[in-house]
């Protein structure tokens, strides 16, 4: 409804709007509006539920009101052309965002048109938008890049006044973030006075987060970091099991604590139960339901592999406050305000203080209401982690998100995007690309290589006959073949989805997707948990798994791959501090006190390491020897360290190591005894020749090969299929492993190979953190113990299966040895 508003100043109109929603604008919100009015760009950070959206959104509205003071001239039939882009990381959030942005537009009676454009939008809407975009458009990074391939849309961006990037902390440090940086650089060229605002949770590196968003050429005078309201109260407590077993409890999932958690759910109106993996959400949901059968229909499960319709039903239920509890993964970390939620339960370590803070903020999602989080440990040591996280939050030692440095795969994709969207001249685009923080230091040689890659396939010295993607016409790089355009648009983006299959009922309703790998191991009749239900496999047909409801016990739970977060270095440090306190007999807080028995066993059988000590435990097991090492540096560093140790030790004896890591330490296992004293003497922890040895150990574990998967997909070497879609071009399928081998053999200088090694070093192994860790170990005293049994610290390491391997045996020798073992085992049985 449009009433003709009485003449008033823009500020008065906005005040009136706030009156109607029952709040007064916060001071930080006014600061953001003022900064926007002054043409500044910046970053707004605070916990969720403190009014960031309105802080960023009212600026553009006020700016319109000021320039269009006479409402009689507003004509809703002729909405103003595109002024504002709102970028959201999840297309599922677009609908909710649209709702909350629409409220003030309607209340102020603005003649604006507000629309979304995501992968879910209808083709007819997209076609209309290509001709004329709405006044404000909500979109995703991928859809924004896609728009840049449509030349006729580019002119419309010339009037763009502001871009707002929501949840910037989620994008920073990912290739999607880099994709946005490049798109923003393009938009700034099309509309030179563009204002850029980011909304972010509080991070340890806010300045860097802002610099990355605003680009390398932003001037410091016209940019601001504004902190949202600080008065968010926070209550964190933990559920401590009634009896802490000698070992960190088995099952590793902590479902023993279901009754206590159920009690908590009983006492609160609406609860989000966060688990760290999708499999865990399924298991927890089942256990809660088994404990309280009367809650059927009142609790639900939510994770990224469920069908969109299932997820929407759950989200609607949360919004309406009709669900008592939802067991979810990070899928509910973002956006959507569920005001009814008054409690968050975190199952298992949140891995970082910032993440814990953010999750807690999902409850009491209204200004002025306290957030409440209850932590449920899945093993005893996690209680130490929580104690450490609380310390870190108190001291405001929050984690940083490191931005990604010049990934060539993303750049290659961007060049094709721009070549399709009207083409480019080399020098001009290079300047634009270098205006981003990510590619500031891009060398001429790298630029030339990427140009060669998209035009000729590889460096000009290398033969890629009959290849073409981008062509040059009179010095201008463009794409003329429609097939290239179509192929590129289908594959834009940097998200790698695993080969997945739809899981459907026989009658046709889709439940979600599971990895092909998991489905292929199921035989008909096998029962598994999915989407909160027990289902039975019927058959696989047309790239879908058909199931029916089942009763009884599950045979298995799907495992979805996907990155597990490592413990942050801030938290690792705090954890070492906590253990040192314990070693000194000091147990502060409920969590630590609960662990006193466990700590005593650790002391008695082995040792509690102080900060300046590195603990190593040796144990002989059936089939080999195990070496447990506890640097407490987070899983990624341990992965690198274990590969490095194994590689260095395998240099002086022919041996194969199996390794496993968690956030506390690593375990190496070998069929023969591990001479750790000698190894230390020979410099197994030395920082000399570190980079070379890391690179060698990386080859040994094939880490670079695994990393190549995303690169191959982003650079367009692998054509991404969509879940459930028949692979139309099966003759163009090749695994990234195979591609890696072929490139290694026939184009070893390909910079994409180099990039995968670099990415492993920087992101996978966190080489700089590893270097710091080795330096610290170098200054530490190494304590080697031979415990009588697996100690409490070592126990969680045994739950993870030994996975990575480093070997100095030839493959043939290794196979021969394994064959002997198999034959021996057969002889024994």
């Amino acid at each position: 409804m449009l009433k003709s508003p009485q003449p008033s100043t823009p500020n008065q109109s906005v005040e009136r709007f706030f009156d109607t929603i029952g709040f007064r604008p916060f001071r930080f919100q006014r600061s953001v509006w003022r900064a926007y009015r002054d043409g500044q760009s910046g970053l707004v950070h605070s916990a969720t539920g403190t009014g960031k959206t309105l802080a960023a959104w009212m600026g553009p509205l006020l700016s319109f009101l000021e320039k269009n003071r006479d409402p009689t001239k507003w004509n809703p039939k002729r909405p103003p052309p595109l002024r504002i882009l709102w970028i959201t990381p999840l297309r599922a959030l677009a609908g909710d965002t649209e709702q909350s942005l629409r409220a003030p537009i309607d209340a102020l009676g603005l003649p604006w048109r507000l629309e979304s454009r995501t992968g879910d939008s209808k083709a007819s809407l997209k076609a209309r938008q290509r001709k004329r975009l709405p006044t404000a458009l909500i979109t995703t990074p991928e859809s924004l890049s896609l728009m840049l391939t449509h030349q006729n849309m580019l002119d419309q961006f010339a009037n763009l006044e502001g871009v707002i990037v929501d949840e910037w902390h989620e994008l920073l440090g990912t290739k999607r973030g880099v994709q946005i940086e490049l798109a923003l650089a393009r938009l700034r060229r099309l509309s030179p006075h563009l204002r850029t605002w980011g909304l972010s949770a509080t991070l340890g590196n806010l300045q860097q987060a802002q610099d990355t968003l605003l680009g390398a050429q932003a001037c410091p005078e016209s940019s601001r970091i504004i902190e949202g309201s600080k008065d968010k109260r926070l209550k964190i407590e933990s559920v401590i099991p009634n009896k802490i077993d000698r070992f960190p409890w088995s099952g590793h999932i902590g479902t023993k604590m279901v009754p206590q958690v159920a009690e908590l759910l009983e006492q609160s109106a609406s609860t989000l139960v966060f688990a760290n993996t999708r499999s865990q959400t399924e298991i927890w949901y089942q256990h809660l339901l088994k404990h309280r059968r009367d809650w059927a229909g009142q609790i639900a499960v939510h994770h990224g592999s469920l069908d969109a319709s299932v997820r929407r039903w759950v989200e609607d239920g949360l919004r309406a406050g009709s669900l008592r509890a939802v067991v979810c993964t990070s899928s509910l970390d973002l956006g959507v305000d569920f005001t009814a939620v008054d409690l968050v339960v975190q199952v298992g370590s949140p891995k970082g203080a910032a993440r814990l803070l953010q999750r807690a903020g999902r409850s009491g999602h209204q200004p002025g209401v306290a957030s409440r989080l209850v932590f449920v440990p899945t093993n005893a040591i996690e209680l130490v982690e929580l104690a450490a996280a609380q310390d870190a939050i108190r001291q405001r030692k929050l984690e940083a998100r490191e931005p990604i440095h010049k990934p060539l795969d993303v750049l290659a994709q961007h060049l094709v995007t721009i070549a399709i969207g009207g083409g480019f001249e080399s020098a001009e685009l290079l300047a634009e690309v270098r205006s981003t923080e990510a590619y500031q230091s891009l060398t001429d040689a790298e630029w030339e290589w990427v140009i060669d890659f998209v035009c000729r396939g590889g460096s000009s010295l290398q033969a890629y006959p009959e290849f073409s993607r981008v062509e040059t016409i009179n010095g201008r790089y463009t794409v003329t073949q429609r097939r290239v355009t179509r192929q590129h648009r289908m594959n834009i983006g940097t998200i790698v989805s695993d080969a997945s299959m739809k899981v459907k009922y026989m009658k046709g309703a889709t439940l979600g997707t599971a990895e092909e790998n998991f489905i292929s191991r199921l035989s008909p009749g096998e029962k598994f948990l999915f989407a909160g239900r027990l289902v039975e496999m019927v058959r696989v047909k047309d790239n879908a798994a058909y199931v029916r409801r089942a009763t009884g016990q599950p045979d298995t739970v799907p495992r979805w791959m996907g990155g597990r977060m490592p413990l942050s270095s801030e938290l690792s440090d705090a954890l070492r501090g906590k253990l040192e306190e314990a070693a000194g007999g000091q147990l502060v807080g409920r969590e630590m006190k609960a662990l006193s028995g466990l700590m005593k066993i650790q002391q008695r059988w082995s040792k509690l390491p102080r900060r300046d000590e590195l603990l190593i435990e040796r144990i002989k097991v059936r089939g080999g020897y195990q070496l447990f090492v506890f640097p407490f540096e987070g899983r990624l560093v341990h992965e690198g360290l274990s590969a490095l140790m194994a590689y260095r030790m395998s240099q002086y004896q022919k041996v194969t190591f199996s390794m496993a890591c968690n956030d506390y330490g690593l375990v190496l296992q070998s069929p023969s005894i591990i001479e750790i004293d000698a190894a230390i003497e020979q410099g197994v922890f030395s920082t000399d020749e570190l980079t070379g040895d890391i690179l060698s150990s990386m080859n040994a574990t094939e880490m670079a090969k695994r990393q190549f998967r995303q690169i191959a997909r982003v650079a367009g070497l692998i054509q991404q299929g969509f879940p459930g879609q028949q692979k139309k071009s099966s003759h163009l399928q090749a695994s990234s492993n195979l591609l890696f081998d072929v490139f290694n053999q026939y184009d070893p200088d390909n910079l994409l190979l180099d990039q995968s090694r670099r990415e492993v070093l920087q992101h996978q192994l966190e080489a700089s953190r590893m270097f710091d860790a080795l330096e610290r170990i170098g200054r530490s005293q190494i304590v080697i113990t031979d415990p009588p049994k697996v100690t409490p610290l070592a126990f969680p390491l045994l739950v993870d299966k030994l996975r990575a391997r480093v070997s100095s045996e030839t493959l043939a020798d290794r196979v021969a040895r394994m064959q002997r073992d198999l034959e021996k085992a057969a002889g024994e049985s």
Partner: protein, 238 residues
């Protein structure tokens, strides 16, 4: 331990199937000494050219690499006949000038070898090969009671053995403490011997040999029977 139970690695492993002596080669081929015939499966020549034609930049090299592996086996065995068990080419667009050139060089190097292609699913849409190429194409080929085909069909009653490809079989070796990646293998199951894919730019498909099957892995150019399928065979005999 009897002689038969020692399981050594070799680049040429003689086995007897359906009364015929075959040699499994470390180069992923099968050598039939009596017929002086070398068999390979799934060369997928020119796959990288097909990718390039579809705007995916894969370097050249794997086609010549695959042909070099065949040449090596032809020379070592002194074969007079060479048979490809299907999927010689990856697609129609695989016959690019550079691929044809490598292939013609291959033909010229072996003028006295008779060459035969048993058509595979990837060869179905090839159309006519250049008339000058010294290679015949058939849909299947019989050598006494041995049938050669691309697909691992059920063996017709008038044959004792089927030699085929198509599956690109591979197995993983796993013990309590160690586990390898996928190792290409020869797989004998229900009177069918499936050959590993020889093409350098081809993937593999993991198989799980059944209790009555046999499997031989190819590791660093050496062939060796999988310990589990050996064990089953011996325990059955005892």
């Amino acid at each position: 331990m009897t002689d038969a139970q020692t399981n050594k690695m070799t680049d040429r492993l003689p086995i007897e199937l359906a009364g015929t002596t075959l040699q499994l080669l470390g180069g992923r081929g099968v050598w039939m000494p009596a017929a002086k015939t070398l068999l390979v499966a799934d060369t997928h020549l020119g796959k990288e050219a097909t990718f390039r034609r579809h705007h995916i930049p894969i370097p050249t090299g794997s086609t010549t690499g695959t042909l070099a592996a065949v040449t090596k086996m032809l020379q070592e065995t002194d074969a007079t006949r060479f048979i490809i068990l299907g999927d010689m080419f990856h697609a129609r667009s695989s016959l690019s000038p550079d691929v044809c050139e490598s292939l013609e060089a291959f033909f010229n190097r072996h003028p006295s070898v008779e060459m035969l292609l048993v058509r595979g699913n990837h060869d179905a849409h090839l159309g006519q090969l250049p008339a000058a190429w010294p290679i015949d194409i058939v849909s299947q080929y019989a050598m006494d009671r041995i049938l050669l085909m691309h697909h691992p069909i059920e063996v017709p009653s008038d044959f004792d053995l089927l030699l085929c490809g198509h599956l690109h079989p591979a197995i993983r070796l796993e013990t309590m403490i160690d586990k390898t990646g996928k190792l290409p293998c020869f797989w004998y199951s229900q009177k069918r011997l499936v050959l590993p894919a020889i093409g350098e730019f081809t993937g593999t498909h993991r198989i799980h040999p059944g209790p009555r099957d046999r499997a031989w892995m190819v590791v660093d150019g050496q062939v060796m029977e999988h310990a589990n399928t050996r064990r089953q065979r011996f325990t059955r005999r005892v």
